[in-house]
């Protein structure tokens, strides 16, 4: 297949450039990626087996319920900005719907016997790689739109398991997941790098950063984006915890909350990465694990962690914004007033799908900003376009920039001085979009805003 025919190239893994601001590939041409050597039939077999492996009642109900009304398209930012029907969310699952009917559904025998549904081919999966990874941030806006109530986003995540097993995922996602699995961090924030950074940050900012405390009430984790790109968030976390007098720690055996296993569809890596934090928390007897400003890290531990662990977690899991809101509610966190107008970008995994809808707003209220909500906002806010691993996938850049215009319009319409969010991945997407469009709006971190406005001396 060639680019001239409009069909994607197959591309084998090649070295990534990890020193760039974002993980980079030299020639992000129109292509699909493949990992591993195996016959095509085996790729399909693996994809389907993995797809149905965790197929439970709820997913089957969803598969039985679609009426092809097409309304989900109206909720998807990729369709909204392109009007290309292939970005219709439910269409992104077409090969998997086909496979479900043929291989797994209640009438699978009939479908197979009469060949009413064709067997899924590797060419189909290759073509769908772009739809499942490049043009879906798993933001779940479509799940709020579907009149049947199908949680389409959850099915996309399940489809990603199949694509990973088939060795058919974007190379960047594959590579960073491998790096996280082997080194402990997708972006090179290895335990040694993290330790060095903490020492440097502690010295530079004159802040105490406890590390590897054997006993602690609170275990904090950071995302690799923060460690490598936004180290001020690490400092902000330390300042706030110290300010509150919390008995807390970072631990080298469980500090990295980023979970590319979840984003890529590598369930084994997802579990491995999740278990590091769980084991670290258990080891130091933490009663609370505080997750950083990272949307999918919240999903991975808060909502999927116990299921990976196989039993309820012996500690609370909180997003940092939830923790801050709790401290505000309990009167422990007093903040200087920020005499500015602000607007809040809702990270999909924290707000729409995570349920921490009001917590960041409570913190903004405590900061005294004039909050100007975007339209739409909260559960129906538009995604930044970079979630679900999309911002790590250069092949998707052009499309992602189109969706970013939605955010630019939304924020400009509020006229707010401070765009604020509570997800480093969203923040990175905003920074990249800002640079691309030479936009004059800078996204701010809620965590850093709080740290900058602590009332240090209450007496």
């Amino acid at each position: 297949m060639t680019a001239s025919t409009g069909q994607p190239h197959a591309r084998k893994p090649e070295p990534l450039e990890f020193d760039k601001p974002r993980v980079s590939i030299a020639t992000p041409e129109y292509r699909y990626d493949m990992q591993g050597e195996m016959p095509e039939a085996e790729r399909v077999e693996r994809a389907m087996k993995s797809f149905v492996k965790d197929f439970g009642r709820t997913a089957a109900i969803y598969m039985e319920s679609c009426i092809h009304c097409g309304m989900c398209a109206e909720a998807c930012h990729f369709y909204e900005v392109t009007k290309d029907p292939k970005y219709t969310p439910i269409w992104k699952l077409e090969p998997f719907k086909q496979a479900y009917k043929r291989e797994y559904g209640p009438f699978a025998v009939i479908y197979r016997a009469l060949n009413l549904k064709q067997k899924v081919t590797v060419e189909q999966l290759q073509e769908w790689q772009q739809l499942i990874y490049d043009s879906c941030t798993v933001c779940g806006r479509c799940s709020l739109m579907c009149p049947m109530g199908i949680d389409i986003a959850s099915l996309v995540s399940q489809a990603r398991h199949g694509m990973y097993a088939a060795g058919l995922i974007p190379h960047e996602l594959w590579a960073v997941t491998e790096r996280a699995r082997l080194e402990g961090s997708p972006l090179g924030a290895t335990p040694k790098v993290f330790k060095d950074r903490l020492e440097w940050l502690a010295d530079d900012h004159e802040v105490e950063i406890p590390l590897d405390e054997p006993d602690a009430d609170v275990l904090c984790a950071m995302s690799s984006i923060e460690i490598m790109k936004y180290p001020d968030s690490v400092v902000a976390t330390a300042r706030i915890m110290n300010h509150l007098g919390v008995r807390w720690t970072f631990r080298l055996d469980g500090y990295e909350a980023t979970n590319f296993g979840l984003l890529s569809g590598n369930a084994a890596a997802q579990k491995l990465l999740t278990m590091k934090i769980i084991d670290a928390a258990v080891a130091c007897g933490a009663r609370t694990v505080i997750l950083p400003e990272c949307g999918h890290a919240y999903t991975a531990l808060r909502w999927m962690g116990a299921n990976m662990y196989g039993q309820p977690l012996p500690f609370r899991v909180m997003h940092i914004a939830e923790f801050l809101a709790e401290q505000v509610r309990e009167g422990k966190l007093r903040l200087k007033r920020v005499a500015k107008s602000a607007t809040f970008h809702d990270p999909c995994q924290v707000v729409r799908r995570g349920g921490a809808i009001e917590a960041p707003r409570e913190v903004l209220k405590a900061l005294g900003v004039e909050l100007r909500e975007m339209y739409p906002t909260k559960g129906t806010n538009w995604c930044c376009g970079g979630g679900g691993g999309v911002v790590a996938n250069h092949r998707a850049d052009e499309l992602r920039y189109k969706t970013f215009k939605l955010k630019m319009e939304q924020i400009e319409e509020t006229g707010a001085e401070l765009p604020v969010t509570t997800c480093a991945n969203c923040r990175q997407t905003f920074d990249d979009g800002q640079a691309h469009f030479k936009w004059d709006h800078k996204m701010h971190s809620l965590l850093e805003l709080v740290a900058d406005n602590l009332i240090e001396d209450e007496s």
Binding site: G56, R57, M71, M148, G149, W303, Y309, G354
Partner: protein, 229 residues
């Protein structure tokens, strides 16, 4: 045995049997699948409250209305017209009573002491006509709208046909369409209904049942997390 006798006799019995067996098979095939327990600590322990999504999702959020207004309006127009005609047209009520007596030996009046209300023929005719018009509109929309055209398959068009046919044959029989014997029109109407019953378990018409399960499941999952419904 003439066509009407066939339609009233073996065709009706077989189609009802296939409908019941097929629906049960498909529902049990899904509901008997395992469901893993979610071990995460719920934000809202009363997840059952999420069942309100079954009602909530019957109307789109304000933010989504602009893009879905056509589908919503046509959906309601068709469903209301179809269901009211089906359940409140006097001859249908008599027919259901007949079928009930055949199956369980009594009708609703015999069971609970009162009958099933009916609506005047004029209202039924109007609603049926609205339903037919809505079905034609959604078919055209499916053919010309790029999204719907892309995602449509045989099921969409055949399900449309087996839904459209009973409405049209029913209206034709009611109107005693010129030149056609009533018995033949009635037989066509019955056969079209039986075709719908036979197809029902295999295609997307099953959403009449699964919609409650899908909305309910999502509602409970999301409510548990405190996520947006």
């Amino acid at each position: 045995m003439d066509l009407l006798e066939f339609a009233r006799g073996p065709a009706l019995q077989w189609s009802i049997s296939i409908f019941i067996a097929g629906v049960l098979w498909r529902l049990l095939g899904v509901f008997l699948l395992r469901s893993k327990k979610d071990l995460s600590e719920p934000r809202n322990p009363a997840a059952w409250k999420g069942l309100r999504l079954i009602a909530l999702r019957s109307w789109p959020r304000r933010e989504f209305l602009e893009g879905t207004a056509f589908g919503e309006v046509m959906g309601y127009a068709f469903h209301v017209g179809f269901l009211v005609s089906l359940f409140f047209f006097a001859p249908h009520v008599l027919f259901f009573a007949d079928v009930a007596r055949g199956l369980i030996g009594t009708d609703l009046r015999g069971l609970v002491g009162f009958g099933w209300p009916t609506l005047p023929n004029g209202i039924i005719t109007l609603l049926s006509a609205i339903s037919v018009a809505a079905l034609l509109a959604v078919l055209v929309h499916r053919l010309v709208n790029p999204v719907k055209r892309l995602i449509s398959n045989f099921d969409d068009y055949f399900s449309w046909f087996v839904t459209f046919a009973p409405l049209v044959t029913g209206m034709a029989a009611f109107a005693h369409l010129a030149g056609w014997p009533y018995e033949r029109l009635l037989a066509y109407h019955l056969l079209s209904v039986e075709l719908l019953l036979v197809w029902f378990p295999f295609g997307k018409l099953m959403h009449a049942f699964t919609i409650f399960a899908a909305r309910g499941a999502t509602g409970m999952l999301f409510e548990r997390k405190g996520a947006s419904l």
